[in-house]
Amino acid sequence: MNAVFYLLAAITIAGGVAAVMLKHLIHSALAVTVAFAGIALLFLQLDAQFVGFAQILVYIGAVAILIVFAILLTHGADLPREGVFSKSWLAGLIIAAGVFAVIGWAVLESIDAVPQRNAVFEVSVQKIGNALVGRYVLPLEIVGLLLTAATIGAVIVAMHEKERPR
């Protein structure tokens, strides 16, 4: 526990809150990017270099871009007249708070049981690679299949429908 952690946690949470609360969708998207970056930095703080950079590459480099593209393609940049929050926003907020309470409760309940290992485990990219094509090769294949399916699916879903003859 040190200052860096608190700083990063603050940035991440602030980014998340801003993403959820900001009226403007593009601002939300940019704010969520901050949250993504914060999480990536938290990963680095946890000595998970590879995952951290992968997080930046995937989330900031791809998902954030996808989100802004989607916003522009759905004309989401224009503010809606009815307001941005749904009618039942209060219930949603209460439920989210409830979930947080339950998770926090669970964490604090198990404070004595949580592991205490502090030694740093050096993980090299080679080890990750070997694990990926060794013990985890089946999940890797499945993820490959999933990504292929998702690519094709996304293209088909977002493709123009052929104009029907009238």
Binding site: I60, G61, V125
Partner: protein, 396 residues
């Protein structure tokens, strides 16, 4: 040829300089101070190089187009960048009224910062990488992927249709070619077995009969390098892939609404991206800081690195002087129907190269497969080329 102490010291001169400077400080802050010094060096050297390159480019382009280029400021116009810099600094900073001021302000900053980060992992000489990360290559790509968002921020916040269109084009193009950029680098990773850039250079720093083991001198490496070069050109929005700022269509693309120092930052970011991607290409395929012949190893490693980078920059400029601009659909078709499949095939060929082990067979097989694929795919592209109405499916 054994390196004499003089040349060895020359090779390490920057490291020695740093250690000397750090030596004045208390022990506790020395590690931090040496990092700071490295950062300062990068932040100073590359913008300087940028200034040099602008004049170099303008003069060179002038030669190619049979004109003189700038020749008013200083001898042979050499102080032109200084004049330009001063002009950019003192110009009025105009922000459009309807622009989203905060985002408009942040866009060039994040761009330049992300691009500067890329230099952190490049080994610019023997033991001259600022940080030797295990996953340095991934870091590089993570940073270069972050620049896309800055481009979007610039384009969107300007509230200008040309800016937005330019940004969308740029992002579509960068995403398309980034895939190729990453995949063509992966083939190097497969052979080198490391994501660490200094490691990759060390793997190439061997000589047989005086010739280096650079990856460009293998069939897969050559193919990957060509694909990498194409993707790098597109990634940096350079001609012939400079549609995002095609001035005849879009005024100037996503930085239309920028002026003064912010514009200069974009300009700087663009050239820095060019340097960094050249540096990466040099590191991955051209042996980084290693000398081209074993009898030249006495020359300092940083000299080789920077000469190779400058050589790539010259190729960039040369292409700009030679090739006309592509159309958006051509660009996309080229990326997805030729470059990407070929890069994927090259990955397979790299795997084959690795499986076949030492021997003459792998040279024959890999070369034959790649050449055959290139010819067949080229013929296919040639056949599909037809003149007809344009279809814009990606930007509307």
């Amino acid at each position: 040829m054994a390196a004499t102490p003089f040349f060895a010291n020359l090779d390490r001169i920057f490291i020695l300089l740093r250690d000397w400077l750090v030596g004045f400080l208390p022990v506790a802050v020395r590690p931090a101070a040496s990092v700071v010094l490295g950062v300062i060096a990068i932040v100073c050297v590359f913008p300087g190089l940028f200034a040099l390159t602008t004049i170099f480019e303008r003069k060179g382009l002038g030669r190619m187009q049979n004109r003189l280029g700038p020749n008013r400021v200083g001898p042979f116009g050499l102080f032109q960048p200084v004049a330009d810099g001063i002009k950019a600094l003192i110009k009025e900073d105009i922000v459009p009224l309807s622009a989203n001021a905060a985002v408009h302000f942040l866009a060039p900053l994040t761009l330049v910062v992300a691009v500067f980060m890329e230099f952190a992992v490049l080994p610019m000489g023997r033991n001259m990488a600022l940080v030797d990360m295990g996953s340095g290559l991934l870091f590089f790509f993570a940073m270069s992927a972050s620049t896309e968002l800055s481009v979007f921020m610039a384009g969107w916040s300007s509230r200008n249709k040309y800016s937005l269109l330019g940004a969308m084009r740029a992002i579509a193009q960068m995403i398309s070619y980034e895939v190729v950029l990453v995949l063509s680098s992966v083939s190097v990773v497969m052979i080198a077995g490391s994501l660490s850039l200094p490691d990759i250079v060390n793997k190439q720093n061997h000589y047989t009969h005086g010739f280096p083991h650079w990856y460009i001198f293998t069939p897969w490496g050559f193919a990957a390098f060509v694909m990498f070069a194409i993707a790098a050109t597109a990634e940096t929005n350079r001609s012939p892939f400079d549609l995002p700022e095609g001035e005849s269509e879009l005024v100037a693309g996503y930085h239309t609404e920028y002026s003064g120092f912010k514009f200069a930052l974009f300009f700087l970011g663009e050239y820095l991206a060019m340097f960094s991607v050249s540096g990466l290409g040099t590191t991955l395929f051209l042996g980084g800081w290693s000398a081209p012949f074993s009898f030249l190893t006495f020359i300092p490693s940083w000299f080789w690195f920077f000469s190779k980078v400058m050589l790539s920059i010259f190729v960039f400029i040369w292409m700009r002087g030679t090739l006309p601009r592509l159309r958006q659909d051509q660009l996309m078709n080229f990326a997805w129907k030729f470059v990407l499949p070929f890069t994927l095939l090259d990955l397979l060929v790299t795997a084959l190269w690795r499986i076949l082990g030492l021997g003459w067979q792998r040279w024959v097989f890999c070369t034959v497969i790649l050449v055959a694929a290139y010819v067949l795919m080229g013929l296919d592209q040639e056949r599909r080329r037809h003149i007809g109405p344009r279809r814009y499916r990606y930007a509307e």
